[in-house]
Amino acid sequence: MSRTVSVTLVLLAALAMAGWAQDGILEVGIEWINVCSPCGNANLGCRDDVAVNFYNALVADGYVGRFNFGNEWAWERDFKEPWDSTWIDTVDIAMHADHGNSCRFAFGETSHEDCRLRATDGPRWGNLDLEWLILDDCSVLKPNFEWTCWEDAFRGLHLICSFGATAHDSCSRGTHFANKLIDGWTVVQAWFYAAEQTEGAGTIASVMGAGNSSDDPYNDHIWGHGSVCSDPYPATYYWCTFHHCN
């Protein structure tokens, strides 16, 4: 009996060292906004489809769905200290779907902080649990090193998946992305695939990562579907990769 307990403890310790979902639970959370007009953007029809279908696919795969906040319930402050330790940084993978632009993404309600989360707001992601943040918004990771605005947000975070140019409100992207993550593709591969399925010429899918001498998340899979590097923090370098959906 004591031997079994010891083996279990060793295994748990090993998983903890490997960063296994930090708290031993595989978790997903989403925030999406179809009603964008309160924050100065046109309303959209498929932001819910993208995020909720992504969420449902991971929950069906065994992930715990921590939160699914839409429209007026999606708040900018959920992505900022200290509130992120209650929300966005308590899950392993999170998705935001609304509008965006260089170094910022939008929300649809104005009473919980403001309408935009900007890199200059000083977000710190991954210091609790978050490994992968999906920002299904235009141009958040723009080329020519504009993406470096997000460097300070990587506090254990592995990857941000987004776009380097304009993208569209495609209903099915979240489903395609989740399916390939579950099939065991890397996060980078699954994101580029999902972009290919839903975009045409002019769109650039992009993924930003942090790395150091021992860890680089480029070939990360999601938990339960392949290898995951330890949290690359403190990072000594950053990269952003761009794929053309021409």
Binding site: D48, E199, Y218, F242
Partner: protein, 311 residues
């Protein structure tokens, strides 16, 4: 109706002067920088519509590429369109950015490699246009050194129908080349088509009025201050491989440049709007109304949560 009248005034201005401007309801200033009358006269008055059916070569290509690339091959065949995606997942989008310099290829060489591969795997005997694009990574080191790294190449063969290009995620064969120039992935969304007749085009001015009312449409860009509409062309829109599509219809493809708050460079995009008086089906798939969860505040005291704490 008020906004339409404003737009029509703009249309007149555009017709006379070639440039007009109107402020849209989200405060986006829209200006048109081409001569509307001239363009209206230049565009074809009637356009064909095509009925689409599933491509029957998809599964053959999938099997052939699986045989070529071996056990790490993965992908999909979409019954609804006959579209296929195949990748050697050991090589496709799998090279971490490093400083190792890969081979460089001329655009002509890339085109030749991609087209040759496409024909080796059953490229339809139809008209197409070829484009290439290079995937790369940008690397920022601890010392602040900036490096560009080539990761791979894309060669896209886009279908043309009646000499008009196809736009959207469909209507193309795409060959993904790795950094060494070897094919590592393949996408084919090439529905069979059959013309069902000629149909009258709607006035360009009418489509432009829609654009002015909603200059971004499904483009998910925030903080757009103004949009310059610099041109328009006719094209056909084809959906992605997992989306049902019964008809392939012509669209106006407006070339737009958006000025974004706080950004130096303008954001380029194309806005697609129906080109015919009659619409056969929606241009883009429509979504469902999916529920959000009720929000509740959770305690954030006491450090990291423990399993079950926030159930």
């Amino acid at each position: 109706m008020k906004s339409l009248r404003i737009v029509l005034l703009v249309g007149c201005a555009v017709g006379l002067l070639g440039v007009g401007s109107v402020t849209q309801r989200f405060g986006i200033d829209v200006s048109v920088e081409f001569n509307l009358d001239q363009m209206e006269r230049a565009l074809t008055r009637e356009l064909r519509v095509f009925e689409a059916y599933a491509d029957d070569k998809g599964s053959w290509v999938y099997d052939a590429l699986r045989s070529r690339w071996g056990e790490k091959t993965d992908g999909d065949i979409a019954r609804i369109s006959g579209g296929v995606f195949v990748g050697d997942m050991g090589r496709l989008w799998s090279t971490a950015p490093t400083r190792v310099e890969p081979k460089r290829f001329s655009t002509d060489a890339l085109r030749e490699m991609g087209v040759q591969f496409a024909f080796e795997y059953g490229m339809p005997e139809e008209r197409y246009e070829v484009s290439t694009a290079t995937d790369r990574a940008e690397l920022m080191t601890e010392k602040g050194e900036r490096t560009n790294v080539l990761l791979g190449f894309n060669v896209t063969l886009r279908r043309t129908l009646d000499q008009l290009a196809t736009v959207g995620p469909g209507g193309r064969v795409k060959v993904f080349l790795d950094a060494a120039g070897e094919p590592a992935g393949y996408l084919r969304v090439w529905r069979g088509v059959e013309a069902i007749g000629n149909f009258p085009r709607r006035m360009l001015e009418e489509a432009l009025a829609e654009l002015v009312e909603d200059p971004l449409g499904p483009v998910i860009a925030s903080d757009v201050v103004s949009v310059r509409v610099t041109g328009v062309r006719l094209a056909y829109y084809e959906r992605g491989m997992f989306d049902a599509q019964q008809f392939i219809q012509p669209v106006f493809a407006f070339t737009c440049l958006a000025k974004v708050e706080g950004a130096r460079e303008e954001l380029a995009y194309e806005r697609y709007l129906f080109a015919l008086e009659k619409q056969f089906e929606p241009l883009l798939p429509t979504g469902d109304r999916l529920p959000s969860e009720k929000r509740f505040e959770r305690p954030r005291e006491g450090g990291p949560k423990t399993p079950g704490q926030d159930e």
